[in-house]
Every structure is written in C-alpha cells, then in structure tokens.
C-alpha cells in the first residue's frame, strides 16, 4: 500500500466525521454495541457475552446494528461491560453483562427501546465517557491517557486515525523542529509516570544534545509493581497512541529505532502492539520516509522475563542486550550512554500516551490541568478492599477521599477504611489523616510514600500492617538482584525482623534496628530497588506504631492476620450449635453435638480462620 500523507489521513477523518461507525457506511446500520475486551473483561466472560449478542441479533434478525470490540473502560468491578449507542439517545453503559443479561438488553433496549435499568452503570462510570469535560462539571475523572480505551477497536488503525490519531506525528514532522517539540513538552510540564516523575522534556533534551549516528527510544512496559495494570490496559486498548508518541520522541532527539520492552505476562497487549505496528507500517506511518517526509522510524518488541528490577533503566538495557538484568551505576545516564552505548530515552507507557495530546492541544492546555508542579492527569489502579475496583484517571491534585469514596465507592463489605498503599514495593501507606491532601508527585514524597506507577491498594480493618510490610519486604528479598550488599542483606534482615515480630518474638529494639538499616539501605544501595525497598516498612512504623507495639508488647494482632498471635474460640452465649464450623474445619478440631455449644481443640487448630468465616452467628471469636 502506498504511503499515506497527512492529506490522506485528513481525508479518512473527514469521511468518517459522521460518527465512529466505520465499516457501516450504509445509513441503516445506525445502532452500535461496543464490548470491552481487555484481558480483564475477557477473564470476566466478555467473549461469551460477545457471542451471545451476535447470536441474539441473528436470531431476532436485527439488521441495523453493529457489534464492535474495544479495549476496556477500566470498570473491572463491573466486567463484562458493554456500551449501547443509539442515535439521538444518550449512550448507555451496562455492567455485569453475562449472556443472559446480553439477551435481555437486545430484547428490551434494542428492540423495544427501553433501557434495562437494573444493569445500567451510572456514576461513577458516566465520568469516563464524557467527551470534553467542561471545567466546572462535577465529574471527577478526566481522560487523556485512557481517551481511546474502550472507545476504539485497537485492531483498526482507521478508528485511531479518526480520533486525531497520527495528526500529532504529522504536525511534528511538517510544522515543528525538534526543538519546538521539546519546548512544547517543556511547556506542558509533563513528568515521567514510571515512578520518579522526572521532567520528560529534560531527558529528551539531554539525548538530543548528544551527537551520535544511532539513538534509541525505549518504551518501558515492564509494569512490575504487583497491583498496577494501567500500562497493560493502555497498550491493549490504544496501542497506536504509544507508538505515535515514540516516533515523535524519535524525531525530537534524532532516533530512528523504537524498542518496546514488555512483560511476557501480557500476551494480549503484545498481540495488539504487533497488529498496530503492522497496520501503521502498511500505511507508511512507520518505516522510511514517514508520511512522505525525510524521517525514518521503526519498531521492535522485546520481552521481559519476570524480573522486577528490569523496570530500572540500566537493568532494562542489560536485559535487552540479552544479559542478566542487573543495574549498573549511573552516571553515565542512559540518555547519554544507554543501549549498546548509544543515547537512549526510556519512557513509561503512560508518559508516552500523553504526548500526542500535548502536541495536538498544546503544552499550555495540558499545563492547565493538575497542581503547580505536577501537571495533567494520573491513572490509578484502584484495587484491594474497595467497592469499585478498576482503572481511573483523575487530574493531579485530586484528593484521596475523592478517589476512594467518590469514585471508588468506599470500602467493600461495610468495613472501615484503614490505609492506602501507593508506589507499590517502593512506596508507603497513606492513612486517614491524608484523605484530604491533594495527591501529586511531591505531596506523596512528603509523607514518605511515592507516586510510583499508580497502584493504589486499599486496606481495611482486617488487614494487618505488620503483615503488609512483611509482604513487601518478602517481595524485595525475592526481587533483589543481589549485586550490592546493602540491598541483598538489608532486605533479608528487615524481613527476618518483621517475621520475628509477627510470630510474637519481637523486641522493642527491633524497631530501631529496622529504621537504622532502612536508612542505610536508602543511602548505600546501588539502584532504586534497594534505595526504596525500606519505604513500605518505614512508613508503616511511622503511621501505625501503636499496632506494631501491640505485636511486640501484648503479642496481639488486632486484625487477626498474624496466625501465631491469634486464637480462635467459640462464644458459648452465641453459638447455637449449627455444626457449620465443625464441617468446615480442615483438621476436624471442632467438637460438638447438633444444637449444642461447639468447642475448638486448641492443640490441633491450625488457625486457618475457616470457622470464623462461616459462622453466621458471630460466635467464633478471634483474639
């Protein structure tokens, strides 16, 4: 196929102005159903939903309807989700649509024009399909990064093009100098979303200023923080936006090669990327003389192999070079001397997805969103003990309260809020006291946490903070590459001390030991993994000292998570002798006749908590 010029792309857009319905130019196909098919939606059964819809449409012989795939809208708690678009009516979003529900929707909504009220997802879901939010609306979410996710079919490049796709690349190639591009990014105030929040323009200008006949743009899609998945969803739902951004970055710094380093655990995202690259190549948007300009740029995909440390820039480079992914000291910084010794820009997926919008709408427009030092939006993966788990995108400066309670719907099962962990294994906990502070890069660091990649794990009263700290340290012990002693030994020692506390052998001095070791690790570790590994435990000590002291002094775990500190007993007053617990106990250590009080044989109890979970009369006591 011949190379598409800017003019050709403009024509595609104009041809389809009428709407997003691309393959159905015939008037009569005017109803649309979009099924969210990201990994998460598919896991919840989106494929079956899709098939059920098709089957129902065929059976009912409905002609004026198209059913399309898209990435996900991020409403994990309500998957599978589908969107129904009927001209002249507001779009309707349905959640928890299994095959049965799908049939109901076709029957009632499509045929009789009556919405199926019980399945509609109103707030907070409506936040996300507002096209252009005006400034004073009460919508909490604002989508820049996720603008196309759940809207376009990621396997159809034309759909991306219609939504201004590749117009930023065209603008850059024909109207802007590399310096103009960097300046525009500078005006936007964009900071890296991969964790550290380094100004993107500055990194780019370092690389630009180095003379070298070969330079690289790497997209960091290693997404190693367990509990974060915004990069996966972005790549699955809108791969072109990231590819377009990489080409723009290449033009800005003078690189012709882009490498996407992606986790092998994300097969669907890899497939979507491969398809997107092929389609864009066919249109002449990648390869030589892009859009008829003098600029060449092409891609390669490289797979990660399950090592958290490979998210660190120098380790990532080692991994692409086919080696063990061990960090090396900086400087030299990769921007100056990176892959194969060449200047290399490494940017995170989310950082990149912002770039085309900044170029199209201007840096000033972007800089109007957010706080003084953190501009734009941030995508968070809201998970854990939260009602509406899912991906959300909010302007920087949104408060934790708005995120957890307004968008997230609060804590699930009526429990009490305890804390939120941000920044994953490098971050820390935010408590109730922090609920009203605007969240941005700097405010999080100020309280001893960090933005990280945007995982937000919500904890309730049933979660033990010693256990959480231990969990993160165990993760770091396993993921430490072992190259430097402070991290290799420090993570292990702190983990052992936490373990000691959790089994009831903790001593007062242990806390100070942990603090001292943590401070030493922060200073002496070679890479970010070791430097930040103590953050979770240090922040827990700061925010939940009382709870830790209970473990040490009273040998008590108020959440009942530290098994060695817990005993299960049955309250004689409350037990009605229903026998449910006795039947559930995996080691048969609960005795009692029907309708008689039951008793737990402590010497055999393995403290699995099954009896506690199943007793409907709150007769099992944890203490």
């Amino acid at each position: 196929m011949a190379t598409k010029t800017r003019e050709d792309l403009r024509k595609i857009r104009e041809d389809h102005k009428a709407g997003m319905v691309l393959e159905n130019k015939e008037e009569e196909k005017n109803i649309e159903i979009i099924v969210g098919k990201g990994t998460c939606g598919i896991a919840a059964g989106a494929d079956k939903t899709f098939d059920a819809i098709i089957k129902e449409i065929e059976e009912k012989d409905i002609k004026n309807i198209t059913v399309r795939h898209a990435g996900c809208m991020g409403l994990c708690y309500a998957e599978p989700t589908i969107k129904v678009i009927i001209p002249g009516q507001p779009e309707t979003l349905y959640g928890n649509v299994d095959s049965e529900a799908a049939r109901k929707i076709i029957e009632r909504h499509i045929i009789y024009g009556r919405q199926v009220e019980s399945l509609i997802f109103d707030k907070p879901a409506v936040d996300i399909f507002k096209e252009e939010q005006d400034d004073n609306s009460d919508y909490k979410q604002y989508r820049i990064v996720l603008r196309n996710c759940g809207v376009i079919d990621p396997e159809k490049i034309d759909e991306y093009i219609v939504r201004d796709g590749y117009s930023a690349l065209g603008k850059v190639l024909f109207e802007m100098s590399p310096d103009d591009v960097i300046n525009e990014i500078k005006k936007s105030g964009l900071r890296g979303r991969g964790g550290a929040g380094f100004p993107t323009w500055m990194k780019w200008s370092f690389s630009k200023s180095v003379k070298n006949d070969k330079k690289y743009i790497i997209c960091n899609a290693d997404e190693g923080d367990p509990g974060a998945y915004m990069d996966r969803s972005t790549l699955e739902g809108d791969p072109h936006s990231v590819l377009e951004a990489m080409a723009i970055a290449g033009y800005a710094i003078g690189a012709n090669e882009g490498i996407i380093y992606i986790r092998a655990e994300y097969p669907l995202a890899i497939t979507k990327l491969e398809i997107a690259i092929d389609q864009a190549r066919e249109y002449g948007l990648f390869g030589s003389n892009i859009m008829g300009s003098k600029f060449n740029f092409d891609f390669e995909i490289r797979l990660g192999a399950g090592a958290f440390v490979c998210g660190e820039e120098t380790a990532l480079i080692k991994s692409i070079e086919g080696d063990r992914g061990m960090p090396i000291p900086k400087p030299p910084f990769p921007a100056i001397e990176g892959l194969w010794g060449r200047p290399t820009i490494i940017n995170n997926v989310e950082t990149l997805a912002n770039i085309p919008v900044i170029i199209n709408k201007g840096g000033d427009w972007f800089a109007k969103l957010g706080t003084e030092k953190s501009k734009g939006t941030k995508v968070f993966a809201l998970t854990g003990k939260i009602k509406n788990s899912g991906l959300i995108e909010v302007p920087m400066g949104t408060t934790l309260r708005e995120i957890v309670f307004d968008i997230g719907g609060g804590i699930s099962n009526g429990k009490a809020f305890k804390a939120v962990q941000t920044g994953g294994p490098s971050g820390g906990v935010l408590t109730e006291d922090f609920l009203d502070t605007p969240i941005d890069f700097d405010s999080l660091v100020a309280v001893g946490s960090m933005m990280g990649s945007g995982g937000m794990i919500v904890m309730d009263e049933d979660d033990c903070m010693v256990d959480i700290a231990k969990f993160y340290l165990e993760f770091c012990v396993e993921e430490s590459c072992g190259k430097c002693a402070p991290c290799r030994i420090g993570t292990k020692k702190i983990y052992e001390l936490l373990d000691k506390i959790s089994i009831g052998n903790g001593e007062i001095e242990d806390l100070q030991k942990i603090k001292d070791m943590g401070e030493a690790m922060k200073k002496a570790s070679l890479c970010g993994l070791g430097q930040t590994a103590p953050n979770p435990v240090l922040s827990v000590i700061k925010a939940f000292e009382e709870e830790i002291m209970e473990h040490i002094n009273d040998k008590k775990c108020r959440a009942g998570k530290c098994k060695d500190l817990v005993t299960y007993t049955i309250d004689e007053e409350k037990c009605i002798g229903c026998t449910v617990c006795a039947r559930k106990c995996p080691v048969n250590c609960i005795e009692g006749e029907r309708k008689m009080v039951h008793i737990i044989d402590q010497s055999h109890c393995i403290k699995c908590g099954a009896c506690f979970e199943v007793c409907k009369f709150n007769a099992v006591i944890v203490s």
């Binding site: 896991a43 509990g227 655990e265 192999a305 788990s389």
Partner: protein
C-alpha cells in the same frame, strides 16, 4: 559451528527458523529462550545445549540468564500449570488461601507436579487483572474473583480436557 551431534533434542521448523532469524541480532538470547520455552513449556537441558551450539554462546552464560529470570523454568511443569497470583491485590484478597486449598485438593506443593503429570502449582506476581483479585491463570485462561469453593470444579474441568 552449526548443529553438533551432542544434542538429541528436535526443534520444530518454526523454532529453528526463529533462531536463524535472530541469530545475528544483538541481544537475542532472552528472545530465543522465550521461544524455546514456548515450544517445550520449560527449557530442557538438551535444548539449552543446542541453543548454546547454534548461537556459539557458552552454556554457562545461557544458564546464567535462565536462572536470573523468574519466567524461565528448568523443570517441566504439569500439563495444566495453575498459576496463582500472589501480587499485592490478590494477596490482600486471599491469594494465599487459594494456594493452600489447591495444595490440599491436588496433594502437591508449590512448584511440584502431580504424579499423573496433569497439574502443577506456581505462585506468580501479578498478571494485571488486579481488579478481579484474587485470580488464577490456567493454560492462559484467567479466573477472577475466585472463592476457594470454586476450585474443585475448575480442576475437574481441566482434568477432563
């Protein structure tokens, strides 16, 4: 030095041509190992030796890389490898309980295979479906919002496959 007789393992045409294609690319090792594991489900010793010959790379370097990355396996997993997520979100929502239950149901521990070779259990860190926590992954199929009680049925389904 092309193929040498020391190794007896057969590579499929696809794998061989992949290696041919990547052979002269810099930094090819991780990609080639992925492809090998894709074919065998793990990296058999003979395959590692064969790759070492084909790429003219010392076996020690190949093992150095295999053992560094969690994704690569040296032992053959069960026909259906059950991957249980113990990432943060899944941990909070009872991922470890799922492992305990699977161990009881299958009578094996983590990283071991049932006698009939059908199942193995593996603990993995986050497969990016945290919103559906806790999740497990079997043969590429994700099961989310799982309760212990659902496990026997899921296992039965794969046993009959």
């Amino acid at each position: 030095m092309a193929e040498v007789n020391t190794s007896t393992i057969e590579f499929s045409k696809e794998l061989s041509s992949f290696i041919e294609k990547w052979k002269n690319k810099q930094g090819n090792l991780v990609m080639i190992l992925h492809k090998v594991q894709g074919e065998f489900g793990y990296i058999p010793r003979n395959a590692a030796i064969k790759v070492s010959h084909m790429l003219d790379t010392p076996l020690a370097k190949i093992y150095g890389v295999i053992t560094f990355y969690n994704f690569f396996k040296l032992e053959k997993p069960g026909e259906h490898n059950i991957q249980v997520c113990t990432g943060t979100a899944c941990y909070l929502k009872g991922g470890v309980d799922l492992i305990d239950e699977l161990e009881i149901l299958l009578g094996i521990g983590v990283n071991t295979v049932t006698d009939d070779g059908l199942f193995s259990i593996e603990s993995v860190r986050c497969i990016g479906c945290c919103g559906l926590a806790p999740v497990i992954l079997i043969d590429g199929e994700v099961f989310g919002k799982l309760e212990k009680d659902q496990l026997p049925e899921i296992i039965a389904k794969f046993r009959d496959k």
